[in-house]
């Protein structure tokens, strides 16, 4: 029992360490002062109003949402067949290919961002939005392949083979038998890739251009000039968004199946 009490105290402390800064941000977002201070004096919602009125934040949110959404969907469209091929067939140099697909998670983000900048912006002169999209697609792809790959690994392929023997063509069997059984993996990889892409700074920073920037870079940029609770308000809104997303997952397929 004593051991349990010790454990409870430690986990309580860890939780507090992680949670209190978030709580402070929530509180500061309601402060009346024009800089972020804690404890706050007075209560106001004007910073939230400020967020929605600020062209910087609304525009960059739109960009971020579009980029992350399209990049993640593209990553899934490429990642699902790739993960399937990698787990189903004994491809020559399988390890190398797997390593290559996972490299963006191994290589530091700043290096990925810089090399994409060199390649896409300097050499190819690709428009800013498309460049950003490509960069985000690239950082999302490993998540798609990794997570879907691991759920394919748990899938018994004789289930697919039996569908063939029953008269199902290979393509049809993939859609009717394989896909329905890896939906939780697809959903999980979508969430992970989307959140990762939405929060990404290094790649976005290098690839942003005039008028096109993602929300995190916009926040960073804003903070360099103004240190007011608008930033706290944006953070709180992002937290709420994430919580709603998580609740949605919990309601539909259960969090445990995503983290599996």
């Amino acid at each position: 029992m004593r051991k349990n009490i010790g454990l409870t105290i430690i986990s309580g402390l860890v939780f507090a360490f992680l949670f209190i800064p978030l709580l402070i941000i929530v509180i500061t977002s309601f402060g009346e002062g024009s800089t972020i201070t804690f404890p706050i004096s007075g209560f106001t919602l004007k910073w939230y109003q400020n967020v929605f009125q600020s062209e910087t934040f609304t525009a960059s949110f739109k960009v971020s949402f579009q980029i992350s959404m399209i990049a993640t969907v593209l990553a899934l469209l490429v990642g699902i067949p790739a993960a399937y091929a990698l787990s189903r067939h004994s491809v020559r140099g399988k390890k190398l290919i797997k390593g290559f697909f996972l490299s963006p998670t191994v290589v530091p983000g700043i290096v990925v961002g810089y090399s994409l900048f060199q390649f896409l912006v300097i050499s190819l002169r690709i428009p800013v939005f498309q460049g950003l999209l490509f960069g985000h697609f690239l950082i999302s792809l490993p998540y798609a392949i990794r997570v879907i790959g691991s759920s394919l690994e748990q899938f018994d392929f004789s289930v697919e083979e039996v569908a063939w023997t029953l008269g199902c063509s290979k393509i049809k069997a993939f859609f009717k038998i394989v896909l329905p059984n890896i939906t939780s993996g697809i959903f999980a990889s979508f969430m992970l890739a989307f959140i990762n892409s939405f929060n990404n700074i290094p790649v976005s920073m290098f690839l942003s251009g005039p008028g096109v920037r993602t929300l995190p870079t916009a926040i960073l940029n804003y903070m360099e000039y103004y240190y007011d609770p608008t930033v706290s308000a944006v953070s709180v809104l992002l937290m709420i968004g994430t919580i709603v997303l998580m609740l949605l997952i919990e309601k539909t397929i259960g969090l445990s199946s995503v983290s599996k």
Partner: protein, 346 residues
Amino acid sequence: MSFVNLTDICVSYDGKTNVLDQLNIAMEKGELVSLLGPSGCGKTTTLRVIAGLIDTVGGKLMVDGRDMTKIPVHKRNFGMVFQSYALFPHLTVFENVAFGLKLRKLDKSTIEARIKEVLEITDLTPYGNRYPKQLSGGQRQRVALSRALVIQPKLLLLDEPLSNLDAKLRVNMRTEIKSIQKKLGITTVFVTHDQEECFSISDKVAVMNGGEIEQYDTPENIYNRPRTEFVARFIGFENFIPLTKTSDNHYLAENGNAFQVVKQGDEEGTLATIRPSDIKITPTNGESRNNEIQGQVLVRTFLGNSYQYDVETSLGKMVATGPCDKVHQSGEKVTLYLPEQKIVLV
């Protein structure tokens, strides 16, 4: 021409070594043929070749007078049951069984009637709305069987379908499979490594080793008259004595012991083999007559309905079993008598 003909089938995974080497089997309509052998002998590979899940590098597969070698798996219309049952986890029992029928574009009432009929045969009528994970092992097995049968396949292919069941259920299920198979008269290939299971269910058995068929015969003949040393060892012959032929039916062992053998056919082999249970073990009588070996008991093991004796003889170690009412002590000198009808030459 038989109903199913595999002619010179060759399979290679790496292009260099053959997993199956010039394999030939013929099956008659309505037969249940088992492929028996240790793991890695190529029996599952053979089944997968018939199913169309593995491409051959040579040879021909004919079924019902039609060349199936190049027909893709989904157009063969062979029902298959996998070792893991491979039920569709996201579909109910009814939907699992309906899967193959829906692909055949049959009308709804025909589909329902056929499913109803097959679920009745396999005793699954009350479970139509359940999902696979809500079923016991035996029930899942029967769903897999129903799903394969409902498409009225030309061939039924069973890949170790009983190995995941517990011992008692396994015996029940194999009788059930046999009776369903006979009732529907469906030609069936059954892969197993369990010889008891194989003998009890099959019309014919192909014993496989290293990608080749060692012997293809009725279960009785395989059990009593193995043709090769591998088959003999695999089905429980434990004593092997090299002989030299002196005249018809008369042979001499290395130590000068004379053996008489009753041949069943034209066996040319000179390696005599006999099951432990066919050797008669008695206290020593001093002199050696034909088909007798003197020896000394090394180890005695209790088997339940008998004792097994490891006996040291001048022809090496022999294994014999004896009844429980006449016990020999270890160290005791005994005579082993090898009845001439029970000796098999391989």
